[in-house]
């Protein structure tokens, strides 16, 4: 019960912090002081207070976009276990629901973008559609590998059971998987090298360009939803990459938070170290990720 | 008397070759006429005398020997076509083929069982050889007239075989023979005349408008 409350609390509160950490890291690499860690919270709150402007061409679909995006991310957050603690909702096959929830969110974000009738947002949603469908198989290969290793068909079962012991036995497979999943993590959350959330060169962007016409609370919801998505997928990845658990409930929560922050730092490092890829290269990288994951699957089930 | 039948059959075979070899339309018509006359006589040779037989003979001789040739010749005249036979296949090859077929028919006939009284005759080979000759003319000659001639020779072949059955089932044979004559003479004659009116020629290689492109 307690764990459940903590779980939900973290899911609600923590996501923007990751963005803050990433920003700080990048600033540090750039030799700047950078915005405070809590800047994202300020942004969201400010946006919530602003009035909003809706394009005349839009319809209710446009308004449904942010709502569904956030709702799906929230439900996904309930399905994924944080640290050593199983998730509030867990049943056989919930990983498939987890994967498909993002599809639902995507569908509506893209629809909302298309609803504005802007060429740029149309472009953005086209890219989003293609790349995310290329990222899909990787996630599933990961799920297969994990459920094979953990011998469980539910997210909690498979993720909580990943321990160093498993790593020792199937190091190679998990390593491949970590590689693949990290790429997917970046792609799904539109981070460099796939997308640069900070530029406003529309021609090069994917996610940001889809939300050009969202303003005020809508934008706030979108940004929060994005952060939450990063958090949820990050939690998945952390289980994979940093599977340490003590057995002490409180400590485990601490470890989870720390490892999430580590992840944020790593992302920040990558973003500062790498440049944005040319769009043509993106599919190749995604396919590469899929192949890595497929290999890891082969390694474990042969 | 009966012995003569074989000689006549030899004559029939010779006429086959003549009709294969000749290049003159009129002449081949005449040849067929002669063949018809001979075949008309044949029954008289092998069967005992009856008035019925006489009747048959007369009918045969008049129709095959005179009526048909007359009609054909008239058709040729009326259509004032060239008197050549104009074969697809040259005369020598046709003759050779004719010889081959005759030989074949003899060997074929040899394999078939016969009655004693027919044993030493060459009715079967002669008939089949004549049949083949008819076919040869039907396939290698260009003019409609020639084809009628071919058909008649074919009929003659059948007639020769019919002689073997003449006493066993006379009605059958005569019905067959007469019906053929009907076709041979009237219908074909009519059609020939129609053709010569429509096309002002009896060259069947002109009669090829109906085909698959």
């Amino acid at each position: 019960m307690m764990n459940g409350i903590i779980h939900i609390f973290l899911a609600i509160v923590m996501p923007p912090l990751l963005l803050g950490v990433i920003g700080k890291t990048k600033a540090a690499f750039a030799g700047r002081v950078g915005a405070p860690f809590l800047q994202p919270y300020h942004d969201i709150i400010r946006l919530l207070q602003k009035g909003s402007v809706f394009s005349t061409t839009t319809s209710w679909v446009f308004r449904a976009g942010p709502i569904v995006a956030l709702a799906t991310a929230a439900v996904a957050a309930l399905l994924i276990p944080f640290g050593a603690h199983p998730s509030p909702i867990s049943f056989d096959g919930d990983m498939i629901l987890y994967a498909y929830l993002f599809a639902l969110g995507r569908f509506f974000t893209m629809a909302a973008a298309l609803d504005t009738g802007s060429s740029f947002e149309g472009m953005g949603s086209a890219r989003e559609a293609t790349y995310s469908c290329l990222a899909e198989p990787t996630l599933f290969f990961a799920l297969i590998t994990l459920s094979k290793l953990a011998g469980s068909y539910s997210l909690s079962g498979m993720l909580v059971n990943i321990s160093f012991g498993v790593w020792l036995n199937n190091g190679a497979a998990l390593l491949l998987l970590v590689g693949g999943m990290f790429i997917v993590l970046l792609a799904e959350n539109c981070r460099i090298p796939f997308d640069d959330p900070t530029t406003h060169l529309e021609l090069t962007m994917i996610h940001e360009v889809m939300v050009l016409d969202h303003s005020g609370p809508a934008l706030a919801i979108i940004q929060y939803a994005a952060a939450l998505k990063l958090f949820v997928l990050g939690a998945f990845f952390v289980h994979l990459a940093l599977p340490y658990a003590t057995g002490n409930s409180v400590l485990d929560w601490g470890l989870f938070i720390i490892s999430m922050l580590e992840l944020a730092v790593v992302i920040g490092v990558v973003e500062s170290a790498m440049a944005r890829l040319r769009l043509i290269r993106v599919p190749q990288l995604l396919v590469a990720a899929a192949i890595l994951a497929a290999f890891s699957t082969l390694l474990v089930i042969r | 008397m009966i012995a003569l039948a074989d000689q006549l059959l030899v004559l029939v075979l010779l006429i086959n070759f003549v009709s294969l070899g000749t290049s003159r339309l009129i002449f081949s018509i005449r040849a067929v006429a002669v063949q018809g006359v001979i075949l008309g006589i044949l029954p008289g040779m092998i069967h005992p005398f009856t008035w019925h037989l006489v009747g048959i003979t007369v009918v045969n001789i008049t129709v095959k020997g005179f009526v048909i040739p007359f009609m054909l010749v008239r058709a040729v005249r009326s259509a004032e076509i060239k008197r050549e036979v104009e074969p697809f296949l040259g005369y020598v090859p046709t003759l050779l083929l004719g010889a081959v077929f005759t030989a074949l028919s003899f060997s074929f006939a040899g394999k078939l069982p016969m009655l004693q009284e027919h044993q030493n005759f060459m009715f079967v080979p002669a008939s089949i050889a004549t049949l083949m000759t008819g076919f040869l003319i039907l396939t290698t000659r260009r003019k409609a007239i020639s084809q009628v001639i071919g058909y008649l020779i074919l009929e003659n072949g059948i007639f020769i075989f019919g002689l073997l059955l003449a006493e066993a089932m006379p009605i059958m044979v005569e019905a067959g023979a007469l019906l053929d004559l009907l076709v041979g003479t009237f219908v074909m004659g009519i059609v020939i005349n129609q053709i010569s009116r429509e096309f002002s020629s009896l060259d069947t290689s002109r009669l090829t408008s109906l085909k698959e492109e």
Partner: protein
């Protein structure tokens, strides 16, 4: 109604009568002078029949009974039995539902007043098609089966060529007719071999044949070709896109929603005959299925024609169903009942789902075509404002066909996924799990295809003057769509019931699944799914309320879409259908071959001209049609045998005589 049925009538008889009524519904219209009344009578009759037929088939389904009727007929092919077992009853549901909805839709979509020439025939053959499909499911005598089958196929042909003054409609019709007839020929072989095997034309009972018997393989192959051609499994799908695209929309709805399923029914039925199918069969089905799914949706992504896109996605869904069947078959041959159950459940449920959301989409496309006057998606846009109800219903359909929670499409795919994963622990068939990522890819592509469709049709601003002033569809058109949308939501919300629906059918065809308590086990999981759905809904509500509250605080203004600094934005610079899918197509290039039609530019100052990408039917255009024309050329060369020259003919006779002589002696 239920108890009444139980009391008064035998449900099987009710279903049979309902089918016959549907068949005759179109006849009165043929004799009316005044147009329209016939159509209404037909619709009323069909709907009433369906209202009787659906409960009847439900009862048959749940009563787990098999009722047999014997038709006295004089044809020399043994007794003609009518049998309704749970499998048939299950397939009867979509037949009744979809045909009734379509006949109602027709009143608004194909009004007799405007289509005096075609309406009568359309209504008549529509009824014929529907009832022949219903009767097909009851037929147990092979010959009678073929007869009904062919009635179905031919009436479908006449429906397709309703607008036969259009060239490509005629072409679609001919392709369809040839394809279906070839399939029927395969069925001739199929039933003949069955008769050779069993000694009678009656279809054998479930699990009564051995796959090791001499003809078994041939029977299975013939069934695959004959039924697969109708179901549109690749590579037998060539007729499907153009036929569905060119038929009137409610006809497309019935063809895609139900007629394809008849082919699948044939395959299902055939496979139940054998108690020991070899692994190979299952493997073949699975591979063909997943390939059709992937390629089908890939083609769909590339389409520009609204209805072609839907048709291609039908290929995809049929592929998914076939995959499920193949998995089940693998389960049968390796005695893993959980696979049998999950595969069959997934397949059957997806059949049901597809017969709900695909008709919904096709009917919607009919409404769209009514409003926009074209099927070309690149000319549409912004229709959502003119026809909001259609837009909403269409959205439901699009979401559920993508297999996205919380709608019904997801449920069936979920079951299939469970099936794929189920062998992960057990050693054998572990490689099945590789189907999961492929299916995921299919799902992703489906999202591409349908966001493209929905976006380019309903959203944004009109791209042509035709689409500028759409009108909302009438109630007779909206009601059926709303009904289907409701069903989609229902199954999505309470999947347990759906599972309850399919279980009897599975049980009747594969009794071995009775041993384990699968329905209970997976029913629980389904319960969790609906819980997740509720959570999703509540979360959405919370967010909405929050937003409402904020909007209340700070008022909203409205302005034109931001052109990113470009001031002269016209509607044509929007992302159109083709441009939306261009990226995906370029990724999957080679599967989706596009022909670029670009005009020849001449002179120093060429006049204004446009080029466009045209998706091509790879198999049909690149392989089959060339083959046909080659055969045609060969034949027309052989036509010279009929040379027209008498002497040659004589030679033929002579040769025949000669050869036969040689043969004889």
């Amino acid at each position: 109604m239920y108890s009444l049925l139980q009391g008064a009538f035998d449900p099987a008889l009710v279903a049979l009568v309902a089918a016959l009524v549907i068949g005759c519904a179109g006849i009165p219209g043929l004799f009316f002078r005044k147009p329209g009344s016939g159509q209404i009578i037909a619709a009323a009759g069909t709907i009433l029949a369906a209202m009787a037929g659906v409960p009847a088939s439900l009862q048959l389904l749940f009563s787990h009974t098999t009722s047999t009727y014997l038709l006295e007929w004089s044809l020399p092919f043994g007794p003609c039995e009518f049998v309704i077992d749970p499998l048939s009853a299950f397939f009867l549901l979509p037949v009744f539902i979809v045909s009734a909805a379509g006949s109602l839709f027709a009143i608004g979509y194909w009004p007799a007043a405007e289509h005096r020439a075609t309406e009568r025939g359309l209504t008549f053959f529509y009824g014929l098609l529907a009832s022949s499909m219903a009767i097909l499911l009851m037929a147990r005598n092979g010959v009678f089966f073929i007869m009904v089958w062919e009635v179905m196929a031919l009436s479908a042909y006449f429906l397709i060529v309703t607008e036969h003054e259009l060239e490509n409609v005629r072409r679609a019709g001919i392709v369809y007719l040839i394809a279906t007839h070839t399939g029927t020929v395969a069925l001739f072989v199929y039933f003949s071999l069955l008769a050779a095997q069993t000694g009678s034309f009656l279809l054998p009972a479930a699990g009564s044949l051995s796959a090791l018997s001499p003809y078994a393989a041939a029977i299975a192959l013939a069934a695959f070709i004959g039924f697969g051609a109708k179901a549109g499994i690749m590579p037998l799908h060539i007729w499907l896109p153009s036929a569905h695209a060119n038929a009137p929309s409610h006809v497309s709805a019935v063809m895609s929603g139900v007629m394809l399923k008849m082919g699948l029914y044939g395959i299902f039925r055939t496979l139940t005959f054998f108690y020991d199918p070899p692994l190979l069969w299952g493997a073949v089905l699975t591979v063909c299925g997943i390939t059709s799914a992937l390629l089908g949706i890939a083609f769909a992504v590339a389409q520009r024609d609204l209805k072609r896109l839907l048709a291609c996605s039908s290929i995809e869904n049929v592929g998914i169903i076939t995959t499920g069947l193949g998995v089940a078959l693998l389960g049968v041959s390796s005695h893993i009942t959980v696979l049998v159950y999950l595969g069959m459940a997934g397949a059957l449920l997806h059949i049901l789902n597809h017969s709900f959301f695909k008709p919904l989409l096709f009917l919607g496309s009919g409404a769209i075509i009514h409003a926009a006057g074209t099927r070309e998606m690149n000319l549409m846009g912004g229709l959502g404002k003119g026809m909001p109800r259609v837009a909403l219903l269409f959205l439901v359909g699009s979401v559920s066909i993508c297999g996205i929670p919380p709608l019904n499409g997801f449920v069936s795919e979920f079951l299939l996924y469970l099936g794929f994963f189920s062998q992960l622990k057990a050693g054998s068939l572990v490689y099945l799990v590789f189907l999961a990522p492929v299916l995921a890819l299919v799902g992703g592509l489906a999202v591409v295809a349908f966001t493209k469709l929905y976006g380019s049709v309903f959203l944004g601003t009109p791209r042509s003057s035709e689409a500028a002033h759409p009108h909302e569809a009438g109630v007779t058109m909206l009601a059926p769509m709303a009904f289907f949308a409701l069903l989609c939501l229902l199954i999505g919300a309470v999947p347990q019931l759906a599972l309850r629906l399919v279980s009897p059918a599975i049980l009747s065809s594969y009794p071995q699944t009775a041993l384990a308590a699968f329905p209970a086990e997976y029913g629980a999981i389904m319960g969790r799914l609906s819980l997740a759905g509720i959570l999703l809904l509540s979360a959405a509500v919370v967010v909405t309320l929050l937003w409402r509250w904020r909007l209340g605080k700070a008022p909203a203004a409205s302005a034109p879409t931001w052109g990113c600094g470009y001031q002269r934005g016209t509607s044509r610079i929007q992302y159109g259908a083709t441009s939306f899918s261009e990226l995906a197509v370029s990724v999957f290039n080679g599967i989706m071959l596009q022909r670029v039609e670009r005009p020849k530019l001449t002179g120093l100052f060429p006049r204004v001209s446009r080029c466009s990408d045209v998706p091509t039917e790879t198999l049909l255009d690149r392989i089959i049609l060339p083959l046909f024309s080659m055969t045609g050329m060969l034949f027309s060369f052989l036509h010279r045998l009929q040379h027209g020259l008498m002497q040659v003919y004589m030679l033929y006779i002579f040769a025949a005589l000669f050869i036969l002589m040689l043969w004889a002696h």
